[in-house]
Structure formats: C-alpha cells, structure tokens
Amino acid sequence: MQIKVLSQKMEEDTIASWPIRLTVGGIVLMIAVGLLYAIWSLSPDYAELKWTLAASMHESGVSHPVTAVLMNFRGYDTLLEMGVLLLAVMGTWSLTPIKAAPETHPPGLVQDGLLRLLIPLITLVAGYVLWAGAYAPGGAFQAGALLTAAGILLLLSDWQLPASLLPWLLRLLLVSGVAVFIGAALSMLWLNTYLLAYPPQWAGSIILLIELCATVSISAILVALFLGGRPDEPGSTI
Amino acid sequence: MIWQSSLPLLVLCSSLLPGLIIFALPESSVRIRTTLNLFGAVTKLALVAWMVWDVYQGHQFETRLQFLPNLDFTLQMGPLSVLFVTLSALLWLVTTIYAIGYLEGSPHRSRFFGFFSLCVTATAGVAMAGNLLTFLLFYEMLTLVTYPLVVHRGTEAARQAGHTYLRYTLPGGVLLLIGTVWLYTVTGTLEFTSRGFLQTVDESQHPALIAIFFLLVMGFGVKAALIPLHGWLPQAMVAPAPVSALLHAVAVVKAGAFGVIRIVYDVYGAEFASQLGVTQPLAILAAITILYGSLRALFQDDLKRRLAYSTISQVSYITLGVAIVGPIATIGGLVHLVHQGLMKITLFFCAGNLAETLGIHKISEMRGVGKRMPLTMAAFTVGALGMIGIPPIAGFISKWYLGLGALEVGQSWVVLVLIASTLLNAAYFLPVLYIVWFCEPDHPWCENRHFDNSETNWTLLLPALATAGMAVAAGLLASLPYTPLEWVRFITHNQFYQ
C-alpha cells in the first residue's frame, strides 16, 4: 500500500526550475573533473602494504587475506560495523511498530514447492560460504546475506514469526553477534594481550566461532530491518 | 602568615556566603534572613575595621590564586582599596537595615537580599582587586548581579530599565576586555603598582597606550556615567529605593569611578598619564559631564531622577579630581568618592522614605513636607547642602581640595567649573528646600503607611539620619586620624611622595 502511494508522486517532484539544475550540474561536473584529474595524477606504484600484510598472514589464523584483514587485523572495524547494524535495528524499532501486514494471500503451489526446495539449499550454501571464508572470498557477512534471503522468502510466503520466540529471545539473537565478538575480545584480554589480539594458534577457531554467531545475528538483524518495525510485544506498554 | 593572605578572601566570603544561603531560604523565613543579613554586614565591617587598623600600620594583605598561566587572581588590601571597601561595608550595613524596613511585606525578598549581598561582594572584589584582570572579573560580576535588582519590581518599565542598563554596561564591559587584553599583550603584566608600571614601555608603543587608555576609560565611563554613556542611570531609578541608594550612591557608580582611579594611578601612574596628554581630555570630559548633569537635573520634576542626574554630575568630580594630576587634586577626587557616597545615600534614603510613607515621587508634591516629616527632611537638607558644598558638610571639603588642587597645578578653568556647578547645584537643590520648609502643603497627606508616633518606620529613619550625621562628621571633624580625609592623605602621600 505504501509503495503505491509513493510511486504516484515520484514523477513531478523534482525541483524543476532549470537554472538551479543547470548550475548544480555545472558545479558537479567541475567536481568530477577535479577528482578525475586527481586520480589520473595518482602515482601508479605503491603497495608495500601488500607485502607487510603477506608477512604477517601466517599469524592471522586464516589464509584468505580479506578475511584476515576483516576479522583479525582490522577486527575492531568489524566489531563497530556490526554495532552499526544492531544500531539500525534499534533505530527502526524505536521509530515504529510493524505496520499492518499487507493483505497476505496463501502461497501458490509453485511458490510453496520452490520454497521447500530452496530453503535447505540456501542454508547449505550459506554454511559453505561461511566455511570457505577462511581460504577463499566468503565469511560472515556473505553467509548472513544468504540466510537473510531465505528468511525473506519465508516471510513473503506468509510465514509468521513463531509466537513461542519470546521477544527477549529475539533480542538476544539480534545482540548475539556483537556480544560474542566482545566476549572473544575480552577473553583474549584476560590472557593479557591487546584487545582483539588472538594468539596465532587459536586465531583460526576463534574467528570461525565469531563468524558463526555473526552470520546468525546478521541475518536476524537484516530480516528485522526488512520487517521495518518492532514486533509489538503483548505485555509491553508501547 | 596565612592570616595575612586569607583576610581579603574572608571579607569577600562574609557577604558571599550569606547571599548564597539567603537565595536558598524560602520567602517566609523573615527572621533568619534578617539575622543572616545583619550578621554578614557586621562581620564584614569588623573584618574591614581590623584591616584598616593593620594597613595603617603598614601591613600588606594579599591573596594570590593562579588563574591563567602567568596571570593570577589577586586580592590586595592597599590603602586605596581599604578606602572603598570601608565605604561599601559601612553603607551596606546601613542600606541593609533600610532595605529590611523598606521592603516589609513586599514579594521576592529572598531573591532581592541574595542579589543584594552578591552585589556587595562584587563591590568589595572590585575594591580589593590586585590586578586589572581580577578587577575586570568583579566589574562584570557587578553588572550581572545588579541587573536582577534593577528588574526586581517586575513591571514593564523595570524590564525596559534593565535592558537599557545592559545595553550600556555590556558593551562597556567589552571595551574594557579589549583594552585589558591589548594592555596585557603590550606590557605582559596587569599588576597594579603604586606609581603605575607603564613608564618602562618604549616610545613606539605610546599611541597604543593612548588608545588603550581611552578604551579603558570608556569601559569604566559607562558605570562612572561620563557624558555620552550616562543614559542608563536616570532610567535605573525605577528600581526600589535601597537599590538605587546602594547602587547609584555606592556600588555601581563608584566602581566606575574607582576603575578610572585605578587606571590613572596604578596602571599609568599620574605623571606618565599627564606626559601622554590623556588626562587633559579626561578632565574636559568630566567637566562637561558635571555641567550637563546639573543642567539636566534643573528640569526634572521627579525627585529620584533629579537625584540621578545630580549623581551623574557629582561622580564626575572624582574623575575631574583624578584627571587634574596633582597631590591635592587627588585628595579632593578620592575624598569625594567617600563624601559623595555618604551624602547621596542620605538623599536617596530620604527620597525612599517620602515614596514609602507618603507616596510622594514628584518634587511639586513635596510642599510643606518639612512639618510632616521633620527629621527625614532635616537629613535631606544636610545632604542637599552638602551637595552644594556648604562648609560644615563633607561636600565642601572635597570641593575645597579640588579647587586648591586645580589652582596649584595652574588649571584655573577648573575653578570656574566648580563655581558654575555649585551655582547649578544650588539652583536645583535650594528650590526643593524652599518648597519643603517654607511652603504650606496644599492637600492633606495620603498616609501610605501609618506609624504610631514617629514620622516613619525607625528602620527607614535611622539609616538616613546616620548617614547624614556621618556626612557632617566627615566634614566637620575632617582631620581626625581615621576620617576619610586623613586616610586619603595617607594614600596620596605614598602615591606621590614615596
């Protein structure tokens, strides 16, 4: 229903006065030229960072460089990044309860059959992508995305959140990713190394554990974002 | 030793603490508030008396706290600051008694007395400041704290008066800030030294010093009501009588004049200032203010506005005395600081009495009031005659020294100004006295507040008589050891001759 309302008024809402469009276009072009000139004048050779990275790959516990950077070298970034996701959910929940569900028609036969086939396949692929992250492009975020796709498919086919999933439990699920990450970081701290510094021998398994929880919580977060609102708790006085 | 350094701070706290406590007091606890007020005033007076005795022996009191890396917050009790502190402490006690009587039964008294004590703290701070930065700090605090007093009544006129007051004083404060900063950058220090610390500044900086002088004088001129910057004073008369008494006779106006004194003597040094040639224009400006103030006072029918304009002209005597560089003129200027305070506060008390008991605000309504309130009017007469400069009362002494000082330095035109201002003072005070004593009232008095036997509440009457008595004593017994004149001679002695 919202989409219908939105689409009606999209056409004529530009700030039509052409002089403004012209000037903005002109300035934007100048900026583009400037940036291009800057990039063009960029000196081609650099990349000694690549070698330092290769030098310390062995201690990172994973062989694929991107995952190593993501999970170990710049693990702090990933922690904050997951924080951002969680924050997005909190933001959406604080704004509005879930809107009245659109008129849901029971899934057609084809959709139902396809669904029964696809869901297990997607989870399997997600598991593989998660595992492959160690030595090939993949990891928590990609696997999470896949799981989210499965979730959205379920939602579209009129699947309701199981009432048994206590609101508290849902929230735990959302929070689990970041919580596990912090837990791992703190535990390492207990071994009086730096925060987020995993000893080389255990680094691989710790990263895997973190990535596992991250995948689940990321997919839960993304599904919650798709719902676009907070599930109305029965008891809460919202 | 710690006693030496903590005494100035104690003087400040003796009015600060009661003020803060009074703020917290509920409106109904009249007894506690009165005792606190009086206790604060008496302790302050006692401390100051102790200090006067000590400073006379030559002790030096100084509190020094680090404020900025090489600028610190210093409170110093030199002879000059003792003069102003004693004046403010004494008159605070008297005005508190007066205010207690005056504001009987009126709303928001906790707020009033709170700000009242803060205002006196600021005045004491201004007096005791050891360097220009501390002076600026208390000077601005004074502006802030007096604003609520001016706006106390809460009427529209009061708010307008408050706004005019700020519209004048805040830009003044800003001028002062720029002047102080510039001085600091030029000389690197702001400490008051008895003969000024600018002699050593090299030649190239002199135009800067002149510019700084005028910035500072304009900054102080706002409060000292010099000619172009005096607009706020007559409008601030809308404040209740004790406020206009303490503020316009003692605290605010004198802070400005004291500032000018500090600059000329303790920052520039009298001789150096005259070498720079800045004192001559200042003297001319002061003279114009004296005449202008008196002229405007002639045509005011409202009693307090007439007194306000007379304050404008009287305060410029101090500036005139300071601007005529010479030992005797300095004595005249400084002693007028005290005398004018005493006389003017008496006049305001009497004006307050009239307003409070008979509801008289206009001079035309004062016909034959001498019979109805003889004592108040006697005090008023003493104050008025003192203002004109009639001998036994203190005003004459300062005029005498101003005249002498001016002639000694060869500025004979100042005597003409003194003569003209005396004539103008007479022109606007004597008719009032004539109406009060020698005319018959044309309508029965509307008894605003009735009192059993005496003409008005004793708390309103006694302060007026006390200050009138002090004014006559300061004039008649001027050469006793601890009178203002003797003290000022002690100041000028080590100002000029050491």
């Binding site: 400037g34 904050l80 990044e81 924080g83 969680l86 701290l189 809460s236 | 009427t155 706004h163």
Partner: protein, 488 residues
C-alpha cells in the same frame, strides 16, 4: 605485560558503553539502573585515564596487536582527553536527566538508553581512534545513533528534522569516505601518524582535503551549511538536543581539527582565512537569527550555530600563533557544558509551561528559580563574561588577535559576545515579568533542575580552574606549540 599500558582504560571507555547498550537493549526493565551504572563507570575510567596521561607518557595502543600500517591504533593526547572528559561529564548529566524527563513516556526511555549508549560508544571510539577509516565507521555509528535519537521525539518536526539530518550526515560521511579512499590509495596507509609523515602537496591530497573537509564542515554545520541543525536540535527531546548540540557537533569538529593539524599539517594561509570568514559569518548570522526567534529551543539551537562560528574563527588566528587552539578548545569545552545546561533548563521550562514561547515565559523566575539560574549561568558562559569558561576561551583568542593586530577577528569575537548577551538577557528579562495568559502548570522533578544547575555551574567553575585545564591541553602537544613547529 601489555595490559598494564594506560590505554587499557581507553579500551574500557569503548567497551563499557557498548556492552551497556547491549544489556539495556536486552533487559528493558532494568535499563535505567544499568545505564546510570555504566555512566558512572565511564566517568571513573575517564578520570583514571586523565590522571595517567597527565602523569606519564602514554604509548599508542595497537588493537589486535598489529602495528600501525596494518592494524588500528588507539591514541589519546590532550585534545582527545579533554573531549573525552567533556562527553563523560555531559553524558553523566544526561544519563541522570533522561529517566525523569521520559518519566511519562516509558516506551521512549526503553529505546533511549541503548541508542544513547551506542552514541556514547561512538563518541569515545571517535576520540580515541587514530585511524581515518575507523573514524569513518565511528562517524557513521555516531550519525545513525544521533538520527535515531533525534527521531525519538516522534513529532512531525522531529521526524523531518531527523530525516534531513540523516541525509546530510550520510552525504558528509560518503564524501569523507571518498577522501579516505583517495588518501589510502595515495599513501598506502590510513593511520593518522603515518599519514602525517607521508602526505605531500599533490592534486590527490588537495582533492582528498577538499572532500573530507567539506564533508566534515557539513556535519559540523558551519554557516552556509547550518540549515539542518536548528530544526533537528530544536524539535528533539530536551536531553537529546542537549547531547546533539554539546557532543555530536563537537565530534565532527574534533575530526576536522585532527585532520587539519596532523594530516594536512602544511595547510596554506588562504584556506584558514576562508574558514575564519565563514566562522565570523556564522557568529554574526547565528546570533542575529537567535535574536529573532520566538521559541526558546530554536533560539538555543541558533546560538549553537553562532558558538560553532567561534571555533572556526580560531583558524586564521592559529595560523599566526598556535596558542589560539587552546582558546578554541576551551570555548568548545565550556560551550558543551553551557549549551547542555541551557537545553536541559529549556526542557524544564517546556515541561513546566507546556510551551516554549519566550514572550509567554510567565514569571518563570519565581516558579523555576533553579532552572532559570542554570539558564542564566549558562548564558554567562556563552556570552563570555569573566567568571566563566567562555571568558577564558575568549581571553586566549583575543590575546592572540590583539597581539598580532588582527582587529577584524577581535571585533567579531567581541560583537558575538554582545549579540549573545542580547538574546540571553532577552530570555532572562522575560522570565521576570508576568506573562499575559496563564496556563495550567506541571511540576518539574527536582533532579532535572539540579542537573541543569550543576552543569551550568561546572561551566562557570571551568573559568576558575583555567591553569590546570590548560596544563591538560598541553599533554601530548596536539597543537605543536611546545615542539615549536607551529608559529607562536
């Protein structure tokens, strides 16, 4: 061997609010106690960290054990420590204020705590991080949290304000990110210290400079780009607008300052004059607008625009003498306290009168003495009258301006003070007079009034403790004064 390093307290500063946010999100019933405990814990860590860095030399803290080019470092010096203290104190005040402010709107309080603690994490992370990409992430975290909090009020104004704020901050962040990308690919590192050594004047640097600075100026709402600040700050809930004005705006300013000082160190004269001109325009235009406002919170929001102008007037002054930075930092610190106090006081008055039209402030001085005195004291600090922190800031700026005869900037600083006095005393003036219409009145809990008063007095006390604070600024020599590089 490593955990003994001082910055472990810095790490605690980040993890505490983060875990607090998670806990308050999980356990809603006990959100307020957790929140306040976390706030107190953060303050303790901040004090401990401040004590450590002022007594001993604190090394950089490599997160994850990897060195600078590879991993991310945490670094704290005088500049960031001051801002950490600022956010700790203001944060504590807001944490105490918010529960009683949302007393009637429990559902908002439930979501206020996690969002606010997330914002606090972002602030602490931003002040501590020494890696520009990490700063992008923290900046993003900060913006989203701020937008979510701003939208918490739920009214139409609040939502549109929040939307505009979100779009603006996303635009700013993206420009900043592009700048980071260009810098990374030009100098192969994203660490500020290494960048400081490697950056040379080249087209790529100026492009990155242009992008990053423009992005951050947009987020700091300097004069021509101030359009989003007033509606967002004015229509948000009182504690939220307090933290927006006092903390969030300062974070992007800190980032801008950090880049200006370290990464683009050898900036040319022309740029800082341009920033100075925009700053001066902000001071004058902001104050003028504040004078015209009829609603109290809009007045305070425009006052923020004006006071931010001061922070940019310092650029041309600092080009002449590096001491001016200390003045700017002092102004930022005292402005944070004063502005937070002002917004909280305004919140009290709004709650009390039901509206915040300045003309109808019916005799507030009698009924809400503490709030009005908080507002007045904060006003004193904003104007820069002597006893206050604002005065010290202005004094340091004026000292530099007058010493080098830069009369233009001195006049702007001073005129700004007078205009600030005009709009502060306009409000205070109205509080004395009886308003025309009387309306029903809600009692205001004492905690809210006392918090506002404590914040305002702290901004005044800041003025009295100038010497120690200035010593704190010099730790780690952020402004290159002691090392003599910068002209002084």
């Amino acid at each position: 061997m490593l955990s003994s390093t001082a910055l472990i307290w810095g790490v605690a500063l980040i993890l505490l609010p983060l875990s607090g946010a998670l806990l308050t999100f999980l356990f809603r019933a006990v959100a307020t106690p957790i929140g306040i405990c976390v706030a107190l814990a953060i303050n303790l860590c901040t004090v401990r960290l401040a004590w450590l860095i002022s007594t001993q030399e604190v090394p950089r803290y490599p997160l994850g054990g990897w060195g600078a080019p590879l991993g991310i470092d945490l670094y704290v010096d005088g500049l960031s420590m001051t801002l950490l203290i600022m956010s700790a104190v203001v944060g504590l005040a807001i944490s105490c204020y918010a529960p009683s402010y949302f007393r009637s709107a429990r559902h908002k309080l439930i979501y206020f705590w996690p969002l606010w603690l997330f914002l606090w994490t972002a602030l602490n992370a931003l002040f501590l991080s020494a890696d520009i990409f990490n700063l992008y992430v923290t900046l993003e975290l900060l913006s989203l949290a701020a937008v979510a909090l701003a939208a918490l009020a739920g009214s139409a104004d609040a939502l549109t304000g929040a939307m505009r704020y979100l779009l603006v901050s996303l635009l700013g962040s993206l420009c900043y990110l592009l700048g980071v990308a260009l810098l990374y690919h030009a100098y192969a590192t994203v660490d500020i210290a290494l960048l400081a050594e490697r950056v040379v004047a080249s087209p790529i640097t100026s492009a990155a400079f242009g992008l990053m600075m423009a992005g951050l100026l947009l987020k700091t709402a300097l004069f021509p780009l101030h359009f989003w600040l007033p509606p967002a700050h004015a229509s948000a809930a009182a504690p939220v607008s307090a933290l927006l004005s006092a903390l969030v705006v300062k974070a992007s300013y800190y980032l801008l300052l950090r880049l200006w000082l370290e990464v683009f160190g050898n900036v040319n004269v022309g740029i800082d004059v341009i920033l100075g001109v925009f700053g001066a325009a902000a001071v004058l235009w902001g104050s003028l607008q504040a004078l015209r406002q009829s609603r109290l919170k809009l007045l305070i929001a425009y006052s923020t625009v004006a006071q931010l102008g001061y922070l940019f007037v310092v650029f041309p002054l600092a080009a002449v003498n590096a001491n001016a930075w200390q003045g700017a930092l002092y102004l930022a610190l005292s402005h944070a306290f004063a502005k937070a106090a002002m917004f909280l006081a305004a919140g009290n008055m709004l709650l009390f009168c039901g509206h915040d039209r300045i003309i109808d402030l019916d005799r507030v001085v009698q009924r809400l003495p503490l709030s009005l005195s908080a507002f007045a004291l904060a006003g004193v600090s904003i104007i820069g009258l002597p006893p206050s922190g604002g005065f010290i800031g202005k004094w340091l700026l004026l000292e530099v301006a007058v010493a080098h005869a830069l009369w233009g900037w001195a006049v702007v600083i001073v005129v700004g003070g007078i205009l600030a006095a005009a709009y502060v005393f306009r409000v205070v003036g109205h509080a004395f007079t009886p308003a025309k219409n009387t309306h029903e009145v809600h009692a205001v809990p004492a905690v809210m009034e006392w918090v506002a008063l404590v914040l305002a007095t702290s901004s005044i006390l800041l003025g009295l403790s100038a010497a120690q604070t200035l010593m704190l600024f010099e730790v780690g020599d952020p402004f290159r004064i002691l090392s003599g590089e910068a002209p002084s």
